[in-house]
């Protein structure tokens, strides 16, 4: 879907991004992770040409984006900023409708689409005529997300989208983020410096340092098959929690899910979340369902812990 080849950006003698290449598959979420100044944001901004690369090429759907008109390209790529970048002089409704206006949709279509998104993002329609400064940080970020999604672009770029939020709000939005069906059919590239966030939201993580890619792979790859000492050190402090997040429970049968007190949990859920669910609901066990919604088994606390140990052991034997 997205292919980056030998991409580089030099500011004078500083190589902010130094000859990197990677690919992102369709409907995948790739997280660019690293400390400040590692080049992750510069990389992201080159994808919609907010920054023009010094060298290299970028293909989206096999088309070189450098050959397209920048404005047209950008209207087809969603973009979410850390400080939401909402227009203070536009109402929430007008903010969300910016791209459709640029694309000259008719009024009814815009109104319909805006209402639809507000509902999906759990924002009341009352907010339509409210100015952004009257909203809470979390609400503003949701509006920012709605603005990026409104024209249903296949690609979404997110620059530390949740960086300015407190932990409680962040956790809530993370959950919504994962549940949002709109996002499931998007190819997403997200920048963050928050390791937990990267592990929670990323299908794959691209760890960067000094303008270069140190390692690119799934969360478990980074945890258990680090390329070098840098990767290990980077994850060291939060290692235990990360492992619980990265390791999955035994998968349910093909097309099946988990269930607890009538709430369906996705098959790709991590151990960490299942444990949390168990703790919060004070239940003994989680049901395993097949594709017919029939219970075929169950997992209790012990089962989850042994899954963890089993995985760890497997890793150490490899």
């Amino acid at each position: 879907m997205i292919k980056v080849e030998h991409l580089g950006k030099h500011f004078g003698k500083v190589k902010a991004v130094d000859d990197i290449s990677f690919e992102v598959n369709e409907h995948e979420t790739l997280v660019l992770l690293g400390t400040s100044g590692c080049g992750k944001t510069t990389t992201l901004k080159m994808l919609n040409r907010l920054i023009e690369p010094t060298h290299g090429s970028i293909f989206i759907n096999n088309k070189n984006i450098l050959d397209q008109q920048a404005e047209v390209l950008r209207r087809g790529i969603g973009y979410v900023l850390q400080n939401n970048g909402l227009f203070p002089h536009y109402t929430v409704g007008e903010n969300i409708a910016i791209v459709p206006q640029l694309l000259k949709w008719d009024k009814d279509k815009i109104r319909h689409r805006v209402s639809e998104l507000l509902e999906k993002l759990h924002l009341s329609e009352d907010y339509l005529d409210v100015y952004p400064n009257e909203l809470s940080g979390g609400q503003q970020q949701r509006v920012g997300l709605a603005r990026a999604l409104v024209a249903d672009p296949p690609v979404l770029l997110m620059d530390e989208p949740f960086g300015a939020l407190d932990n409680v709000t962040k956790a809530k939005i993370h959950a919504e983020f994962k549940a949002l069906d709109e996002l499931k059919r998007k190819t997403i590239i997200m920048v963050t410096h928050d390791v937990q966030e990267a592990f929670e939201l990323g299908d794959r993580i691209c760890l960067m340092d000094k303008g270069k890619i140190v390692q690119i792979g799934t969360p478990t790859d980074l945890l258990f098959k680090p390329n070098n000492q840098f990767v290990e050190d980077f994850l060291k402090e939060q290692r235990l929690q990360l492992e619980f997040k990265a390791i999955k429970p035994p998968s349910p049968p093909e097309g099946g899910t988990f269930e607890l007190h009538g709430v369906i949990l996705p098959a790709a859920i991590g151990l960490w979340e299942l444990l949390e669910q168990l703790k919060f609901t004070k239940s003994e066990s989680i049901a395993i369902l097949d594709n017919q919604h029939k219970q075929v088994g169950q997992l209790n606390f012990q089962d989850l812990m042994s899954a963890f140990y089993k995985y760890k052991q497997q890793q150490s034997h490899e």
Partner: protein, 522 residues
């Protein structure tokens, strides 16, 4: 209380003029503002885009701002003549800096995240400018326009110096005529205009984003309407155009006398004497009020119209000195009288010609003259007290002040400090009575009509001969102000109407009555 009532009655009496001047003032302000916005806004946007240029552009606008207003108006005359055009250009130059600077600050101050979002949404540069940057910068830009408005209302009073009208006509006329009511009749409305416009713009600034959009769209229309006001009053004309100084306009021995005694009806504009002669020479004016000894009379080939009904009283020049100064400096009177009777009309015109037209320094002209009369002596470098000499703001007075300065330095042990260029009779005379200067050269007619202001009967009585005017002034100044008129210098610098020699000849106009008859003929 009394003062207020007379001010009120003055304003009622002059309500026509007041209304015209106020409208002119508003019009002048907003035309200039309109063009200033038209130029300043794009420049501000340009330097916000190309920050390298910002230093240069803001620097130039800043320098323009520091040029004294009168000087700037002066620079405009050779380029644009007199009247509204140079005034508007000068005013707009003053209004530029706050508009450019605030546009620049406003646009560069827009949150970078918002600009980035706009770019990332796929907005083009012009969409970002009009939909994001300008609306968000608008409160700051409006603050700049507000500052510019207040500055322009203030500076627009000076427009009357170059015949562009406005409330300055009353203000400067009042200063020249020693007429407080007239000054206030101009100054109060001018101040009110500034306050009102400032208030209105502050309200606009406080509007929220939605309303500001509407206001922004309406404002050009409002500006144009207000600007049009200016052209309404100036859309009249007559065969000949007269340019009179603000002082002449309000004087009994000036325009008032021309109207009451000669019944002269002529299209008149008010103009500073600094540019009046040149404007006549360049055929922008046909009749001007001048001084009969003015050097420019010769330089610009003008001719004095005969005052056949005798409305201009004699204007013999003599130093007037505070009695206390005469006591403090016992040698002063005798020294100043050295010049008495030495300069007649022809000599004075010649001396004025040398400064006004040949641009020789007044100092050199003064020295040459004293040497030719064997009056000049080298500076004794004395320090026995300092005599303060004042002078009004025209060439002749500079020359006289220089002569007196040289004489005092050469014949006595006193030091000298000169305060030349005092704006008008009122300023000069107030400086004298308030012990800011010790003496200055004054004219008998001015003393009578501007300072003493006796009844018409007395005026008719004493203006018959030069001696009776001089004696009346001398007695009254001594008893009323303790100021002494020393011996007259000799020349009579009376007010006079002048025309270009050639035009006067073509129209066969030799006297003011001829002029009136010509104008009435149609």
């Amino acid at each position: 209380m009394n003062e207020q009532q007379t001010l009120w009655s003055f304003m009622r009496e002059q309500s026509d003029k007041l209304a015209t001047q106020t409208l002119e003032h508003i019009g002048l302000t907003f035309i200039s503002l309109f063009f200033a916005v038209l130029i300043g806004l794009p420049l501000g946007i340009l330097i916000a885009r190309k920050q390298k240029l910002s230093g240069t552009v803001l620097g130039i606008a800043g320098v323009l701002q520091t040029i004294p207003s009168i000087a700037l108006l002066g620079f405009m005359i050779p380029l644009l003549g007199i009247g509204p055009k140079p005034a508007i250009v000068a005013l707009l130059l003053y209004a530029l800096l706050p508009i450019i600077r605030n546009t620049y600050t406003g646009i560069t101050g827009v949150d970078a995240a918002v600009k980035e979002a706009a770019t990332a949404m796929g907005m083009s540069r012009s969409q970002i400018l009009f939909k994001v940057e300008l609306p968000l910068a608008m409160p700051v830009i409006l603050a700049g326009i507000r500052t510019a408005t207040v500055i322009t209302v203030g500076v627009a009073t000076l427009a009357s110096y170059i015949a562009a009208g406005g409330l300055g006509e009353f203000i400067f006329g009042g200063i020249s005529l020693n007429n407080t009511n007239m000054i206030l009749a101009g100054a109060i409305p001018a101040a009110l205009l500034a306050i009102i416009f400032d208030f209105l713009l502050s309200r606009v600034q406080k509007l929220n984003f939605k309303k500001i959009n509407t206001a922004t769209k309406l404002s050009p229309a409002i500006l144009v309407v207000l600007a049009c006001v200016y052209f309404i009053p100036s859309a009249y004309g007559s065969k000949l155009t007269a340019g009179f100084t603000p002082e002449f306009m309000g004087r009994q021995d000036g325009n008032l006398g021309l109207q009451s005694k000669y019944h002269l009806k002529i299209h008149t504009i008010v103009i500073s004497d600094a540019v009046m002669y040149k404007a006549a020479y360049e055929k922008q004016l046909d009749v001007i009020s001048g001084y009969s000894t003015d050097g420019r009379l010769k330089a610009y080939d003008l001719v004095v119209l005969k005052d056949d009904k005798g409305i201009f009283p004699p204007y013999y020049a003599a130093p007037i000195v505070r009695d206390e100064a005469l006591k403090q400096f016992p040698d002063l009177e005798k020294t100043l009288n050295l010049l008495s009777g030495k300069i007649n009309d022809t000599v004075m015109t010649e001396l004025n010609y040398r400064t006004d037209y040949l641009h020789q320094s007044p100092e050199r002209v003064a020295k040459d003259f004293l040497q030719s009369k064997n009056l000049w002596r080298p500076d004794r470098g004395g320090n026995d007290g300092v005599v303060r000499i004042g002078s009004k703001i025209f060439g002749e007075q500079y020359i006289l002040a220089n002569m007196y300065s040289m004489l005092i330095k050469g014949y006595t042990d006193y030091g000298v400090s000169t305060k030349t260029g005092l704006g008008g009779t009122k300023i000069c005379f107030d400086a004298l009575t308030n012990n800011q200067i010790d003496f200055y050269p004054e004219y008998t007619g001015t003393g009578l009509l501007v300072i003493l202001q006796p009844s018409q009967k007395v005026i008719n009585l004493v203006t018959g001969s030069k001696e009776s005017t001089y004696n009346y002034d001398k007695d009254m100044f001594e008893s009323r102000y303790h100021i002494k008129w020393l011996q007259p210098i000799g020349f009579n610098n009376a007010y006079a109407l002048m025309m270009r020699q050639k035009q006067a000849k073509d129209l066969n106009v030799k006297s003011i009555t001829d002029l009136k008859n010509y104008l009435d003929k149609k």
